[in-house]
């Protein structure tokens, strides 16, 4: 993105697109690959225009097979490329699960550092778009559970722009979750201000009443809840986790030590989840600071439901505020 003329307002989708473009301009070994990402520009248009500008040698419309995409990306990485793979929808990542978990995540360890896997796997995730089955999933816990890969989730357009470039520059494999229902939300991008490190959590709203942690699509929902809570005199502190593996919990610990209360929010089913790990770690590290048990607001421990039910399934402002009230009730 050219521009030194002050902040520009862009959508999250545009942030990703411009971030990809910048990464491809910066390094000729960066190639983009996936289903329908070339001429079509991806089903969400995140790669719009890239094939036109960088050619079919660097923007590969692949055959339809997720394991094939990741498996060949591994081979391309061994050859010195930096592939950025698109998985079309969260629920379609499972055919590639084996290649991600047993191969992509293991090459560096297996080879004791002789082989690097600078591969990014972009995954639109989460619900809220009224989609059919397998288009609204939150599979991040599977990957956060897997040593050898890193997992991040962007929540806004500014982070989208920077984080995708940082992920591509990373010498380790990164699973990059994109909040698909936030693709069209806008933010002001100021290219003159340096971004925070990729693997860092960020305080996005200061408060004193309780700490609320979220990532990806839920950050916006939590911020909305905080705005409403303020009308009731509650000052919620909000942390955007951003990095799901490795976890950067120092800002969370610091916040909980001040507020004494923590509510964790995620769309994924709560049982055996990333959010559960967060609760365990905070209980361990902040035991004497906690005024209430760590509470979780998550999707239910059910398959993702038909779209007409998703309003009830997805955590919303009311469920978050209800959890805040419960935390304050201790």
């Amino acid at each position: 993105m050219s521009g030194t003329g002050g902040p520009q307002t862009i959508t999250l989708a545009k942030g990703l697109n411009q971030g990809l473009r910048a990464a491809m301009e910066a390094n000729p070994r960066v190639i983009v690959m996936g289903e329908d990402i070339g001429k079509l520009g991806g089903v969400f248009r995140i790669t719009d225009g890239l094939q036109k500008d960088f050619g079919e040698q660097r923007v590969l419309d692949t055959p339809l097979g997720e394991s094939g995409i990741i498996g060949t990306a591994v081979g391309l990485a061994l050859r010195g490329y930096r592939p950025v793979c698109e998985i079309q929808f969260d629920g379609f990542i499972y055919p590639a699960f084996d290649q991600i978990v047993t191969q992509l995540a293991r090459f560096h360890y297996r080879s004791q550092g002789k082989l690097r896997m600078p591969v990014v796997v972009r995954v639109p995730h989460g619900g809220g778009i009224g989609a059919v089955e397998h288009h609204s999933e939150s599979p991040e816990s599977y990957f956060a559970h897997t040593p050898g890969i890193k997992v991040v989730a962007c929540a806004n357009a500014v982070d989208a722009y920077w984080m995708i470039q940082q992920a591509i520059a990373c010498d380790d494999p990164v699973i990059f979750f994109e909040p698909k229902r936030r693709y069209w939300e806008k933010a002001a991008l100021d290219l003159t201000s340096a971004p925070p490190p990729l693997f860092s959590s960020q305080l996005v709203r200061s408060g004193t009443t309780a700490t609320v942690v979220a990532y990806g699509p839920m950050v916006r929902t939590v911020l909305d809840a905080a705005t409403i809570a303020e009308q009731d005199g509650q000052q919620l502190e909000v942390i955007d986790l951003r990095t799901l593996s490795p976890l950067d919990l120092a800002p969370v610990f610091d916040s909980v030590r001040r507020t004494g209360r923590l509510i964790c929010v995620s769309e994924a089913p709560g049982e055996a989840s990333l959010i559960g790990e967060l609760a365990a770690r905070v209980s361990q590290e902040c035991f004497y600071s906690l005024e209430a048990p760590v509470l979780r607001v998550t999707g239910f421990d059910t398959p993702y439901p038909p779209a007409k039910c998703e309003e009830d399934y997805l955590p919303d402002v009311d469920r978050i505020l209800d959890a805040v009230d419960r935390a304050l009730g201790y």
């Binding site: 097979g65 060949t72 081979g75 090459f107 560096h108 002789k114 082989l115």
Partner: protein, 426 residues
């Protein structure tokens, strides 16, 4: 429940065939499958009528059918082939023989070391020496190999020190050689995964502009077995390689058995014929004939370096030992099948050829035998003295970039570990 006398669906005339016989009688066709052949009819038309005799693996795999490339018969007789004839010196045949004897000795020594508790496991290559040496020696230095976990012979050809293979099976490491300098990637344990890696690597060779010359170009060769052909990843690798014209040779060692599953549990058609469906040449070679394997693989690699890839090679061979040292083949296959294959031994046929044609003197054979003894001694000594990694190995090299949380976990555990040492000193 009555005891099962033999493996199901094999050579019992009354049984309903699980798959078609692999080699039919009237299989007439070109050696290399044409890309645009006529539409084939039923399996019966393709493979001929079912004949129980033909489902004995020993017969079907090195059947003298005209689709099998062979240059040296099991009796050690040189035969010519219209397409893949080979001009080769006595010295080169001797070199093949030496390679095969040494890797067989390496393999047998590893098996013994496992039985003695020095290795945790071993995956024997016994019987597959010709397939691996022939293919390995056909590679040029600039080519890249993607092995499964049984390619000890190919590793040998690529200059990987056999002690490094032992490291994996002794539990010291997960592959310690340098894949780039050897042109031999690390062993793949999850069956078939490496075929996609090989394809991606070959796509990179093409993107890098390294093809176009049969001698100086680059190619990739991917090793896998008959069992792997059922994996989705192998299918996807074939699709990707075809779509991107990847310079990759898919080298399938059909050793007839995927642990206990015989070939008819994997396929109805000869494996090499699958290539036709993907739009690239498939060719079947006597995998126990090192000369034929060398000639065919050399041709295939040259095709790929030129830009005419991919190519599928099915090397018909036989796993003469168990799947691994944990396996017990007597539970699923008949002893006479092995006896049948011993007559087609890949090493013995070269020895017979060298002797009969006067291409090597007794001193040569004695020299190779001494070398094999010396190799075995060296491997045994090294195996016993292999350095055992400390607990810090658990935490090392998980990521390329700095990892404070892993570093903290390492420091915690090493401190805990050290506390025991101090207790012992007291």
């Amino acid at each position: 429940m009555p005891p099962r006398k033999r493996a199901p669906s094999r050579s019992s005339p009354g049984a309903k065939p699980v798959g078609s016989p692999i080699v039919g009688q009237p299989t007439v066709g070109p050696i290399v499958e044409p890309l645009a052949g006529p539409i084939v009819g039923t399996a019966m038309e393709v493979d001929g009528p079912h004949n129980p005799q033909q489902v004995i693996a020993g017969l079907r795999a090195t059947s003298e059918g005209e689709d099998l490339v062979q240059l040296l018969t099991p009796e050690g007789q040189r035969v010519s082939h219209p397409r893949f004839d080979l001009e080769i010196s006595a010295a080169d045949i001797q070199a093949f023989y030496r390679d095969m004897v040494l890797v067989r000795r390496l393999d047998r020594e590893a098996n013994v070391l496992q039985r003695q508790g020095q290795l945790g496991l071993w995956a024997p290559l016994l019987g597959q020496e010709a397939a691996q040496i022939g293919a390995g020696r056909a590679m040029a230095p600039q080519d890249m190999a993607f092995p499964s976990y049984r390619e000890h012979g190919v590793a040998w050809c690529r200059g990987v020190n056999p002690t490094e293979l032992f490291g994996i099976f002794r539990g010291i490491d997960q592959g310690s050689w340098d894949p780039h300098s050897t042109g031999f990637q690390l062993y793949a344990v999850v069956v078939g995964t490496q075929c996609l890696h090989a394809t991606g690597y070959a796509m990179g060779q093409r993107l890098d502009g390294k093809i176009g010359n049969a001698e100086t170009g680059e190619a990739t060769i991917c090793f896998f077995g008959d069992g792997a052909t059922s994996q989705g990843d192998v299918h996807e690798a074939f699709v990707w390689a075809a779509v991107y014209d990847a310079p990759v040779v898919f080298f399938c060692q059909n050793n007839q058995w995927a642990i206990s599953a015989s070939l008819d549990h994997q396929t109805r058609v000869p494996l090499y014929r699958r290539a036709r469906g993907y739009g690239f040449p498939g060719i079947r070679v006597d995998g126990n004939d090192v000369l034929a394997v060398f000639a065919v693989t050399q041709w295939a690699l040259r095709e790929c370096r030129t830009g005419n890839g991919p190519v599928l090679i099915e090397a018909c061979t036989y796993r003469m030992d168990a799947h691994t040292t944990s396996d017990d083949p007597t539970r699923y296959r008949l002893a006479d099948e092995l006896e049948e294959w011993k007559l087609k031994d890949p090493v013995e046929r070269v020895r017979v050829h060298l002797v009969r044609e006067g291409l090597a003197q007794p001193e040569f054979f004695a020299g190779v035998a001494n070398e094999a003894d010396e190799l075995a001694r060296r491997l045994r000594d090294y195996c016993m003295s292999m350095p055992v990694p400390g607990p810090e190995r658990i935490f090392s090299n998980i990521y390329a970039e700095a990892s404070p949380s892993i570093d903290a976990a390492r420091a915690d555990y090493l401190a805990y570990h050290a506390s025991f040492v101090e207790d012992e000193r007291r």
